[in-house]
Amino acid sequence: MAEVEETLKRIQTHKGVIGTIVVNAEGIPIRTTLDNSTTVQYAGLLHQLTMKARSTVRDIDPQNDLTFLRIRSKKHEIMVAPDKEYMLIVIQNPSE
């Protein structure tokens, strides 16, 4: 448990990381370093996108599954680690 906390803390302190969000399957944030409205917005939107991405992957090959999703935009990069029970989201500005 302490290791998890440590790792989360470390992730947050890495260069360029803007925010870290952990939401459960219902979209309720468990851990977040951003404000609530942003968190909820990210969680909701990314949940749908993850569903779609997973559907795409599995449609092509049902034995496959989505493990990671990265969206690189002009300003930052959003990294999503999806799971059945939760979703881990990190927003980073890599060029900082």
Partner: protein, 784 residues
């Protein structure tokens, strides 16, 4: 017709119900005949029909009321022999029963005395019969209603009764029998001897249907009157039109008032439900259904069904899966209905606790991956440079440099990154080792060299993918001075410590404790272990185990070989070299000899012949030893004036080795010569580490206190080709070449392991072995 004595099959209920209509029943003695259905009873019963002929003895009610009749009024017919052949009435109901069961339908039929009453009752019977009979035939619906009680009875009873046309005469018989007995008694008592006159009388004709003709023949008597009437009627009709006597009047019937009635029902709400069956959705259902089928076929126990359903409820698609489960079941309906019940209960999963999520394995794994990805974002250019992949920055730089520079670009070192974290700051990097199997894994040992400021040592395993946090952290009780990864079991890491302990760690597991520790050994080292190495012996010597063994050299003057035996680390003193002081050389006789053995600081095995190894001592001697001889050195090379910190054979030329010591020099030796071939000195600092480059035979790197140098003997034997000064206040302590890329790792006393890339550096094509040998040869030639 009724003349014929017919009996009717009756049932008790119907009989009693229509007891009124039983007047005309006659029970025949001859047999039971079915009454003709079409028999009708004349409505307009002529007055000729007398009551007498009706044998109304059966109906007690009527008989009671009627003054005319007597209950036992019967015509008795006796034949010659006196037998009573009186035609029995078709039906004689039980008087008691009849009385008790007079139906309400005929409630008004109490008076039956007069004929009119009779008729009325019959009328009523008819109507009532028709009324009561829901299944009234057209028989009753037609104008001519058969009021034949018999027919009624029969038809009614036919309807009501079992269509098997049971003839139940039991009751009637019983009734009859009652009567008959009474009758018989009368006979027996009185009239045994009398002569009786019998009068056969023809019963009256019962007219059942009388349809009077509406036309009269011309010849008949009534013709005249009929004609007259007809003519009168036509006149009447003619007169009618304009006559005042006749008025046409219209009538309006009251229409029934219509009433609107409204009914309102709840609107049927429609909900659209849609689902998309994806490829993977079907695959999921199929997989889980297949799993369910297997379970069902093997075990029909309800408990197991419940378990299976609970297993299936994890993923979201419970409904489809349960449907498929149900459809594929072959269980008895009772259990399958139970199954249908359960899946609908199950979908209410318990929400996983947030804490559980955070503690789960998958979450840790995801965090781990996420961290690496974040770092990759940060370090991507550096790592790409490490891997010698072209980066965008590099491309830009190259273009610029090709335009600007005229001559060949000078070789330089570019600092890529450094492995360090807050755990390691302030610690002295004492040794570094690459993993033999995974060249991206680096083990770094942290420990102080000097005796005075000892603190617990640290071993960190760093991965290239995460330069900011080590993958494994092992704390040791004393400073770490030596490290080596095993080649045979790539996850074994041998650690030598300042207090003489040797421990092996398994870096694959997450345990923080060493696998084996030598602190319990009898012959363990008592002084700092300065070097450990795993050596693979190809040739087994006199019962020793073939395979890899751990060799260590320590300051107590011993080189020991360790074997790992089943969780125990045993020192096998198969080879026990003691460094003898060369008493003659140094005048230390006067001093009290603390020990006769010189501390050994480094050693290196011959790259091809694992029997031969070189060992360097604190006195500056290099001894060439063999594994087979434990007591004596083969050779001794003396040149250095200070403790030897490193000896290393050249990986390309098997005769050449390098040595560095604290006397500011690096010496290049050839195995057969007892004086060094070449000596290198650049600064007046102790050289802590030297290492041949794995790529070029003429290149080696050296680290002294103040700076890091890369020497290229092909370029110059006097000066290092690349010099990289250390940060002020930091001493560089160890050096390691990366095996696959052009990078050098330098560890310093501040706990940082910096990775430098050799830019624009090449010693030439190939390994330059020939060049090295040429250099050596030319040097030797020049010395002569």
């Amino acid at each position: 017709l009724f003349n014929t004595l017919a009996a009717v099959r009756v049932k008790l209920n119907t009989m009693l119900l229509y007891s009124r209509s039983s007047r005309a029943m006659n029970i025949s003695t001859s047999g039971i005949l079915r009454l003709n259905r079409s028999a009708t009873y004349a409505r307009s019963i002529n007055a000729s029909v007398s009551r007498k002929s009706f044998c109304l003895a059966a109906d007690s009610k009527i008989l009671e009321k009627s003054s005319v009749q007597t209950p036992k009024h019967t015509i008795q017919v006796l034949d010659e022999n006196g037998k009573d052949v009186t035609p029995r009435p078709v039906y004689q109901p039980d008087p008691a029963a009849v009385q008790s069961k007079h139906s309400k339908i005929f409630a008004s039929d109490t008076s039956g005395g007069t004929m009119s009453d009779f008729y009325s009752t019959t009328y009523q019977t008819t109507t009532n019969a028709s009324f009561a009979g829901a299944f009234t035939r057209s028989l009753f619906g037609s104008g001519s209603v058969s009021i034949g009680s018999q027919s009624i009875m029969e038809s009614m009873s036919e309807e009501i009764e079992d269509p098997s046309s049971k003839r139940d005469n039991s009751i009637s018989l019983s009734d009859v029998q009652v009567k008959r007995e009474e009758v018989k008694e009368l006979i027996q008592e009185e009239m045994l001897d009398d002569m009786v006159d019998l009068y056969l009388v023809e019963s009256d004709t019962l007219c059942l249907l009388d349809m009077p003709a509406i036309s009269v023949s011309v010849d008949s008597m009534e013709a005249e009157s009929v004609k007259e009437r007809n003519s009168r009627y036509t006149e009447l009709c003619k007169n009618r039109t304009g006559n005042d006597k006749y008025m046409g009047r219209s009538m309006q019937t009251f229409n029934g008032a219509s009433k609107t009635k409204e009914v309102q029902s709840e609107a049927i709400t429609m909900a659209d439900a849609a689902t998309i069956a994806n490829n993977w959705d079907m695959y999921d259902s199929f997989c889980s259904a297949g799993q369910g089928e297997v379970d069902l076929s093997t075990d029909t126990d309800k408990a197991s069904i419940a378990e299976m359903i609970h297993q299936n409820h994890g993923p979201t698609r419970t409904m489809e899966r349960t449907m498929s489960v149900i459809s594929s079941s072959t269980i008895v309906s009772s259990s399958s209905s139970r199954m249908e019940m359960e899946p609908f209960v199950v979908p209410s999963e318990s929400k996983p606790d947030p804490e559980l999520i955070l503690q789960s394995e998958e979450f840790q794994q995801h965090l781990f991956v996420m961290e690496r990805i974040i770092l990759e974002n940060i370090y991507q250019p550096k790592l790409a440079a490490y891997r010698q992949l072209p980066t965008l920055e590099g491309m830009v730089l190259l273009e610029e440099s090709s335009l600007d520079e005229e001559g060949p670009p000078t070789p330089a070192l570019e600092r890529l990154w450094s492995f360090s974290c807050e755990l390691t700051t302030g610690r002295n990097v004492s040794s570094m080792a690459w993993n033999k199997r995974n060249p991206d894994l680096l083990a770094v040992g942290y420990g102080q060299f000097a005796f005075k400021d000892q603190k617990p040592g640290l071993v960190c395993c760093w991965s290239l993918k995460n330069p900011s946090w080590p993958e494994r952290i092992f704390t040791c009780q004393s400073g770490v001075t030596a490290l080596d990864f095993s080649a045979s079991s790539a996850s074994m890491l041998a650690v030598g410590m300042h207090d003489g302990t040797i421990a092996t760690y398994n870096v694959q597991s997450r345990e923080k404790t060493p696998v084996i520790d030598s602190s319990d050994c009898v012959h363990k080292h008592t002084s700092p272990v300065w070097q450990v190495r795993w050596i693979n012996h190809e040739r087994a010597l006199s019962g020793e185990d073939k395979g890899e063994a751990l060799i260590s050299v320590s300051a107590d003057g011993r080189i020991s070989k360790w074997f790992l035996r089943k969780d125990l680390m045993k020192l096998k003193r198969t080879r026990n070299d003691r460094f003898k002081r060369q008493v003659g050389e140094k005048e230390r006789k006067s001093e009290a000899l603390i020990s006769r053995q010189a501390p050994g600081l480094c050693f290196d095995f011959h790259p091809t012949d694992s029997n031969i190894y070189l060992a360097g001592t604190e006195e500056g001697h290099i001894h060439k030893c063999s594994c087979s001889y434990n007591e004596q050195f083969l050779e001794t090379y003396q040149a250095h004036k200070g403790p030897l910190y490193r000896i290393t054979w050249s990986p390309f030329c098997s005769d050449v080795f390098l040595s560095c010591s604290s006397d500011w020099t690096i010496q290049l030796w050839r195995q057969d010569l007892f004086t060094p071939v070449l000596g290198f000195m650049s600064t007046q600092r102790a050289v802590y580490d030297v290492m041949w480059s794995p790529k070029w035979a003429t290149v080696f790197g050296a680290v002294n206190e103040g700076r890091m140098e890369i020497w290229d003997l092909g370029a110059s034997i006097l000066d290092p080709t690349i010099v990289n000064p250390a940060s002020p206040g930091v001493k560089l302590t160890s050096l390691l070449f990366a095996t696959e890329t052009d990078c050098v790792l330098v560890g310093d006393s501040d706990g940082q392991v910096s990775v430098y890339q050799l830019k624009n550096f090449t010693a030439g094509e190939g390994t330059q072995v020939g060049t090295l040998e040429d250099i050596i040869g030319s040097t030797l030639a020049s010395q002569l």
